[in-house]
């Protein structure tokens, strides 16, 4: 049995353990869409550039003269970008189990109301309704629906029984990370988690943030700071983590 409340999809699995998934809002949806739109645009531009180069290489024919040739050549030129435009979402959502590159980068994925990957039929229906969600222009109707419906569903989602949730796909590094917890140290498991997380993200942080977070952490666990230099601070943290 599943129910949705407060932008969360609550599912009770067959083993009676409830799982709650956070439903993606309009911001995440739009961000993913913009990324996907740019990927499609880049593919189309790459195709046109290729045609232009081939036209010049074969018979020194310019792109505009190919377009104005009045035969079926313009159709061939525009066909692949059109196919990419219309089939990008359904094909990738089927192949990538409810994800597209844009959705993956945003950390969201498509699920049905049971929290499972939607069937191929549901994905096709969802994408057919882009014809309506895209009306009158720039996905205005779909945007309004996603903004004002309880679970941020556009018409296609309402039709197919799908919704976008934040992806909590198991991260392969988590098991390795769990092994790193120094279970015989004096720190609580929560502090150890915090430490491993900080060390994992260390390289992504700028110098000032590294020093600030390291100081805050050492103060929290009651350990005296030995060094001022960030490299030596990292060494001290790694020693604490037993690495």
């Amino acid at each position: 049995m599943e129910q949705t409340a407060q932008s969360r999809l609550n599912i009770t699995s067959a083993s009676s353990v409830p799982i709650s998934l956070q439903i993606a809002g309009v911001g995440s949806r739009s961000y993913a869409f913009v990324i996907d739109w740019h990927i499609r645009a880049l593919l189309a531009v790459a195709w046109f550039v290729m045609i232009w180069v081939i036209g010049l290489a074969i018979d020194n024919v310019s792109f505009s003269s190919l377009l104005n040739s009045g035969t079926w050549i313009p159709i061939i030129i525009f066909l692949p970008p059109t196919i990419i435009y219309f089939l990008y979402h359904p094909i990738l959502e089927i192949l990538m189990h409810g994800r597209t590159p844009g959705k993956r980068m945003t950390g969201i994925r498509l699920v049905n109301t049971k929290g499972e990957t939607p069937t191929t039929g549901a994905i096709i229906i969802r994408n057919v309704f882009r014809l309506i969600d895209g009306l009158p222009a720039l996905y205005a109707l779909g945007f309004c629906f996603a903004m004002f419906t309880k679970n941020h569903m556009r018409i296609g989602d309402l039709a197919a029984g799908t919704l976008l949730v934040f992806d909590n796909k198991p991260r392969t590094s988590t098991a390795k990370y769990a092994r790193q917890l120094v279970t015989d140290s004096n720190m609580s498991l929560q502090d150890q988690e915090l430490l491993v997380e900080l060390l994992e993200r260390w390289k992504q942080l700028n110098s000032k943030t590294r020093v600030s977070l390291a100081q805050q952490f050492l103060r929290r666990v009651g350990v005296e700071r030995k060094y001022l230099d960030e490299k030596l601070l990292e060494k001290q943290l790694r020693e604490l983590a037993g690495q």
Partner: protein, 337 residues
């Protein structure tokens, strides 16, 4: 040793003892997406792994709430649950279910909506005919200027079609266009059915208007010759998609005991099956329109026979005559045995 330290040590031992199992389950789940079949031992192992993950999650939520390990276990359980409870997939079984069982049942449910859609199309066609027959100057509403010029000079815009575009390309582009129109006619039903009614009426008006204009120049028989081979199925599918779209509108207006969104979802699920059956026929109509309709080497009689034959095949399929035949066959077989 203090109680806090003891519980921490117990937690540490539990964690160290479970990590290998989680890694193994994670690996199995990753491989499962490529696997078609499992042996009994593998299946049991997977089911045990998912059960174990559920128990571990319940414990992790108590001792490590909001932690990354708990999130990891939630993801693992969700993926495991989906893998274990995934229904068996068989393309042939799904096609059999769609064409033999679901399609005829849905057509029977929608029969009066289909009749209404066909009636609306015919009435719009008659209206289009009467409009252009009485006011020929309104022809630009339905025909472009080059088409009007062609008709006025005694020809049809379809005459030299094969000299301009190869049949294969023509068939592909027509089939694509047909599929798009059908999907539009269906999806516009989400606007309380009004969009669908608009599409059906417009298509009827256009067909009637174009025929009236060509009749004015005595070219209607040639237009009929072009349309008949592919038109029966093409127009049938548009009416069917229209009926499906009206069904969506009806679900939104009169959801009955269900919520509006549940009624809408149910209507979409029902209607999309009908479209899935129709789309191969639309592609067939596109092929006929690319290869046969514009080809003057096929006579009117041949084109009419192809059009009517293909139309009969379409209606036999969606109304379930095939399934009736199959059921009767099974009955006869059981009687004989």
């Amino acid at each position: 040793m203090s109680a806090a330290n003891r519980s921490k040590q117990a937690l540490a031992q539990w964690l160290q003892g479970r990590i290998d199992r989680w890694e193994s389950l994670e690996k199995d789940l990753k491989q499962s997406s490529d696997k078609k079949t499992y042996d009994v031992a593998q299946t049991n192992e997977l089911i045990d792994g998912v059960r174990g993950a559920a128990q571990d999650l319940a414990l992790a939520r108590q001792v490590l709430p909001q932690s990354r390990i708990t999130q990891f276990l939630e993801g693992l359980l969700l993926q495991g649950h989906e893998t274990v409870h995934r229904p068996p997939g068989s393309v042939w079984r799904a096609l059999h279910q769609l064409y033999i069982k679901d399609g005829p049942r849905i057509v029977a449910q929608l029969k009066w909506t289909i009749v209404a859609a066909i009636t609306l199309f015919i009435l719009s066609g008659v209206a289009g005919w009467l409009l252009i027959a009485n006011y020929t100057e309104l022809a630009p509403l339905f025909l472009s200027q080059p088409m009007i010029d062609e008709v006025q000079s005694g020809g049809l815009w379809t005459d030299d079609l094969l000299n301009i575009i190869p049949s294969s390309f023509l068939a592909f582009s027509i089939a694509t266009n047909n599929v798009m129109v059908t999907l539009f006619a269906f999806a516009l039903g989400a606007l309380y059915g009004l969009g669908t009614i608009y599409i059906i009426s417009l298509n009827g008006l256009m067909l009637g208007g174009v025929f009236a204009y060509t009749a004015h120049y005595n070219l209607h028989v040639r237009l009929f010759e072009f349309v008949i081979a592919h038109g029966v199925v093409e127009l049938s599918v548009i009416c069917l998609a229209g009926a499906a779209g009206v069904g969506l509108g009806e679900a939104l207006i009169r959801p009955g005991a269900r919520t509006r969104s549940a009624a809408f979802r149910e209507a979409v699920s029902r209607a999309s099956k009908l479209l899935a059956i129709s789309i191969p026929f639309l592609i067939g109509a596109g092929v006929i329109e690319g290869y046969i309709s514009p080809d003057p080497s096929f006579s009117l009689l041949t084109k009419t026979a192809i059009g009517i034959g293909f139309g009969i095949l379409f209606w036999i399929t969606i109304t379930g005559w095939v399934s009736r035949f199959e059921r009767n066959g099974v009955k006869e077989l059981s009687n004989a045995s």
